[in-house]
Structures are given as C-alpha cells and as structure tokens.
C-alpha cells in the first residue's frame, strides 16, 4: 500500500511530445480512474508508472520513493493487461505463482497466497487448467489473481474489461471494485468507457490530448465539468452545447433565438461563450412556462427514458441542436414542438476560446 505522486510528467517520442506535464497525487488506498478518448495518452501515463515506458521529464514517486529509473519489478506494482497476457504454457496456478516464485517465496507461502486469491476470485476449480481452456471472463479473473497474489503497493489496470462482452463487463466492474475495497490497495485504472470510469473511481482523471483536463470525484466532474471537453465526454448522452454570447440577462444563440439566464453575472456582455445543459436536466413543462421550445426531429425510446432529438425553435441557422432526456411515459412524435424548462442551477457556461468553465 502506498501513495503515488506524479509531478509534471512529460513523454516524448522523438520530437513529438505526447504527454504535456501531468501532475497527480494519489492517496493510500484510493481508486483513481484515468479516462479519455483513444490517443489521449492515458495508457502511456499508466505504462510510465509501471516502468514499461521511459519518463521524458518530471518524476513519479511511489510510496515516498522516486521510481523514475527503477525496473518494473523494483517498483512494487502489479499490472492487469487488456488482453490478459497470461503465459499460455503454464497452468492457472503457475501463472499466478510465477511472480512469487521469482521473488523467492517458499512453496507453502506461494500455495497459501494463490489459494486465497483463487477463493476470492472464485477460480479454484480451474487452477490446474491452461489459459486456453478458460473463457474470457475466467482469464480476466486469472489476470487479476496474478496481480492480487503479489500483494503490491499499487494495482495498475490497462483497460482490463474492454475484451469482455457487455454483461460480463458490468459484473467484473463490480468485482474489481469490491476486490480493491477488500484489500485496500491503491489502484490506477485506465479506460475509455465513461460508465466504467464513473462507477469505479474515487477520483477521475479526465485526459485529452496529453493533458489532464480535470481531476476530481466523479460527481464533481459530472456536476461542474472544468472544461468544455470534460462536459462533452462525461455523461451520456453528451451534454448539449450551444454557441452564442451573453446579452444582459439573456444568452443569444449564434443561429438566432435567446435563452433566459438565471444569473447573468457570469461574463461581460457580448463575449462569445458556450452554453451547456445536460439532456437529463431538461423537463417538459406547460407551454406558458417554457424557457425553450424544441422541434422534435427524432425519437429514441429506451424504456425508462425517451430521448428527444431536435432543433431549438427560433434557431434558424447552424447549431441549436439539442437532446432532451424525458420520462419514458412521455408520448412524443416527430414534428412535435416540446415546451422545455431547465432545472434550476443546471446550466454550464464555458469560454468559447479556451473552453474553460466560467
């Protein structure tokens, strides 16, 4: 168990810098999820912590020890890979025991630790099998068992669930979380799946283009996204973002039309800004109370919810496209005009140029 402290870390391949100075402090036992679109540098960051990738600049400190120049085995970490990376010629038991064997543990100690991990992951019946005789979910468990038996200071997960089918992914997600809680080991977890990120994390690191855009708890990231990118990336369906500018107590849409703002003290008049509201924070109201009117162009029924895609009435040019998440009981059809209101306090304003939250 240990803290991790990442200070101003950079990574370059030749002249191309792919990670531009990320800093992160992880408390002991914390579960940190690094999330971002593919190519944002999240896996590279994890691999630098693991010691599989050289660090170009900055320092990584695990448990009070700078590990920049240490080999992976000296860093007291265990890693779970996306394709599991089980040794195909070894039995499940040997796969899990291999690291301990190299570390020179006694036979009895190895057996005791492997049995304990196997019991925890419910893979005892398969200990003598080869990996190829296991299903995807079982292999995933073995890969986790291999990390677990080493009792490392830090778990590193590199998209461990992306090779599983949707149902199994949900189940394994819960199990990973429970396992980490049970052993209380610090964990870094990389994923591109925002649901996984939200459900697993104590804190989220949202990365984009080699920069950590926001580091905070899942709810804080959801409620107060620091940048326009985070706002669009976290939440499904994505947040509606409209371009326009502030005029007195109103937000003037780029394509025409205005929205009333509750509090126009945000910005100086005429400044180009982005106005964001999540689909789930729009609700149907009587026509007289409507803040905006949505001309429905498409409907997706999900059962519990209905997603109404449409265009703002009054927005005649580009933009003004909006999604509203309405109760499943709402009866809608294409061509309707829906009177909608925004839940109080649920609007987000971003600077149009920097994308920063205002």
């Amino acid at each position: 168990m240990a803290t991790i402290s990442i200070k101003d870390i950079t990574k370059s391949y030749g002249k191309t810098e792919v990670i531009h100075g990320v800093s992160l402090d992880v408390a002991d036992g914390e579960f940190i999820v690094i999330v971002g679109p593919s190519g944002c540098g999240k896996s590279t960051l994890l691999r630098m912590v693991a010691g599989l990738e050289r660090i170009t600049g900055g320092t990584i400190d695990i448990g009070g020890r700078v590990v920049n120049e240490l080999e992976p085995r000296e860093r007291d970490i265990a890693m779970v890979f996306q394709n599991y990376a089980l040794y195909p010629h070894m039995s499940v038991f040997d796969n899990m025991a291999y690291g301990l064997k190299i570390a020179g543990q006694s036979k009895a100690e190895i057996k005791q630790r492997v049995d304990k991990a196997a019991a925890m992951l419910q893979i005892e019946p398969y200990l003598e099998r080869k990996p190829r005789a296991l299903s995807g979910g079982q292999r995933q468990r073995v890969a986790m068992g291999r990390a677990l038996v080493r009792q490392p200071a830090v778990f590193l997960f590199d998209e461990p669930l992306s090779n599983l089918d949707a149902k199994l992914r949900v189940q394994m997600r819960l199990e990973i979380k429970q396992m980490q809680r049970a052993v209380g080991t610090t964990a870094l977890y990389v994923t591109h799946d925002q649901v996984e990120a939200m459900t697993l994390a104590d804190r989220l690191v949202v990365m984009n283009g080699g920069v950590a855009e926001q580091i905070d708890t899942p709810m804080a990231v959801y409620e107060r996204p620091a940048t326009r990118f985070v706002a669009g990336f976290i939440g499904s369906p994505a947040m509606n973002i409209l371009q326009g500018s502030v005029t007195d107590k109103h937000f003037a849409l780029e394509g025409g039309g205005t929205l009333a703002l509750e509090d126009a003290g945000y910005a100086e008049k005429g400044r180009p800004i982005l106005f964001g509201v999540r689909p789930e924070h729009l609700r149907l109201v009587p026509a007289a109370d409507a803040v905006l009117n949505l001309g429905v162009t498409a409907i997706e029924t999900l059962g519990a919810d209905t997603l109404a895609h449409g265009k703002l009435a009054g927005a005649n040019g580009v933009g003004g496209e909006l999604v509203a998440r309405l109760p499943g009981s709402a009866r809608l059809s294409v061509g309707d005009t829906l009177p909608l209101a925004i839940e109080p306090g649920m609007t987000h304003l971003f600077d149009a140029e920097s994308g920063r939250r205002l």
Binding site: G51, A85, Y98, G99, I102, R146
Partner: protein, 278 residues
C-alpha cells in the same frame, strides 16, 4: 474436401498405390538384396523374395563392414547429426532472441550479416573452411565434422519470425512479474518454442545425417567415416566386385535413424508446422 464416389475413389486409390509402389520398390529391392548372398545378387535375374542370410549379412556389416564397421560409421553419423541439429538450434535461438528482444548498436547489421550467409552454403565456402579447419587441427575429429556446419541463417530467421509473433504484453507481464532477460527466455520463450524446436530438429537432423561432401573432406581415417560417405566407399569400383549383400545391409541400416527420428517426432513436427495458437 472434394467428395468422390465409385470409380473416382478407385482411381484416386489406384494412383496413390502406384505412386507408393514406385517409391517403395527400390527400398524393397535393397532389403531383399541384404538377405541374399553376393552370387545370388550378381547372377541375373536377381530374386525378388528375401533369402535366408539376413542375420549373417547384418552381423557382418555391423561388426566388420568393408572399409570400417558400419556400427562405427552409424555412431559417427549419429554424433555428427545430433551435434549439428542441437548446435544449430542453440546458436540460432540465442541469436534470434538477441535480435528480436534487445536494442544494441548495429543490431540490424548483425541480422543482415546473418541473413547474407544464406548465400554461402558449405559447398561455396568449402575450400577456405577446410583451410581453417585444418589449421585448427580439426581434421578427423567430431568437432571438425560438426562445428563448421553449425551457423544457420535459416533457423535464426525462423526463430526471429516466431518471436515476433509473441505478444509484447507477455514480455511486459514477465517484466512486471520480475523476470530478467535470461529468466524470461528460460521460463516463457523456450517452452513456447518447443514445437518449433522439434520441427527444426527433425529437418536439421536429416540435414546433418545426409552430409556427404564435408565429411568426405575432413575425415581421412576409416574409423571417422560417416555412414553416407562410407556407403559410397563400399560401392564396388572398376576393378573389384565388392560385397553387395553387406553394402545393401549397410544401406538399410543407414536409413533407419532418420526414419526413427521422423516417426518419433512426427506429432510435434506437424504441430510445429501448423501451430498458430499462441
């Protein structure tokens, strides 16, 4: 698979049987020859059924032979073939490991240098190689028989291609588990290469067994002769009439070890050639 019925099946089998007969007849004739007396063989027509002298001929071949006892020559051949096969595999798997998994200066140059030697088989470089072997005092020795034939570009290339299909994550998992380079080679890479090694072993053993020109040059004493060159020397030349039954028996004996290797390793051999699962 194309499904055949009636006449088609008959035709296919007929062709196969004729083919097998053509290939097997000379071998059968050799076997028959090894059970007859010398005069039965040279007086036409030669009998087509085995005679009663099987044990006599084989005993004579194994213990006395003509130039040297065949038993001795078989042993020489075996040592040479094993030495070449094991040596080639050991050297090429290590060089392939170095080329694929380590970054060092002139790595690609080393690879291409090895690859270029494909253009220089023994026959091309035989005179300088002989000169070197002679200067090192390797004539009439097992070292001299084996060493100059060990370097192998083909096997290196084969292992290189195989290693490149091993997933990178496996290497990384081993590094995280704490395995150093030698440990990784011994615990992970070598067990994964077993089928490839077996397939190569079969090919290289037969290659070594069938060497003719090099043993002919490097050995002058009869007791260092290998079986393949020994057979040639047992053939009657212009002014003698040889000893055909013993020669035939020696020929039969010469075929047995490669056949045994192929039969014994067949399962692994086929697996090694078709295996794709990692």
């Amino acid at each position: 698979m194309v499904e055949k019925r009636g006449f088609g099946t008959f035709l296919v089998h007929a062709v196969l049987i004729v083919g097998i007969a053509i290939v097997c007849f000379p071998i059968y004739l050799t076997f028959v020859g090894s059970t007859l007396t010398h005069f039965e063989i040279i007086r036409p027509p030669m009998p087509l059924l085995p005679g009663p002298h099987l044990i006599d001929n084989y005993t004579q071949a194994l213990t006395q032979g003509i130039t040297a006892p065949v038993g001795r020559m078989l042993f020489n051949s075996f040592v040479m073939a094993m030495g070449i096969a094991v040596g080639k595999i050991a050297i090429s798997i290590l060089s392939a490991y170095a080329i694929v998994y380590f970054r060092f200066p002139f790595r690609m140059l080393a690879f291409w240098a090895i690859f270029m030697t494909l253009m220089l088989p023994v026959e091309v470089r035989i005179v300088p190689t002989y000169q070197v072997a002679a200067s090192l005092g390797l004539l009439n020795s097992y070292t001299g028989l084996i060493l100059p034939l060990i370097a192998s570009a083909t096997a290196t290339f084969l292992f290189r291609q195989f290693f490149m299909t091993v997933p990178d994550e496996l290497v990384e998992a081993a590094r995280v588990d704490g395995a150093g380079p030698l440990r990784f080679f011994k615990d992970i890479l070598l067990p994964l290469s077993v089928t490839n090694i077996a397939a190569l072993f079969v090919i290289l053993f037969i290659y070594g067994w069938n060497q003719f020109l090099w043993p002919l040059l490097i050995t002058t004493k009869p007791e260092m002769n290998t079986i393949v060159m020994g057979l040639k020397q047992m053939m009657p030349t212009a002014d003698d009439y040889g000893n055909w039954p013993v020669t035939m028996a020696a020929a039969m004996l010469a075929v047995l070890p490669p056949v045994a290797v192929v039969l014994f390793m067949q399962r692994l051999f086929v697996k090694g050639l078709v295996e794709t699962e990692k």
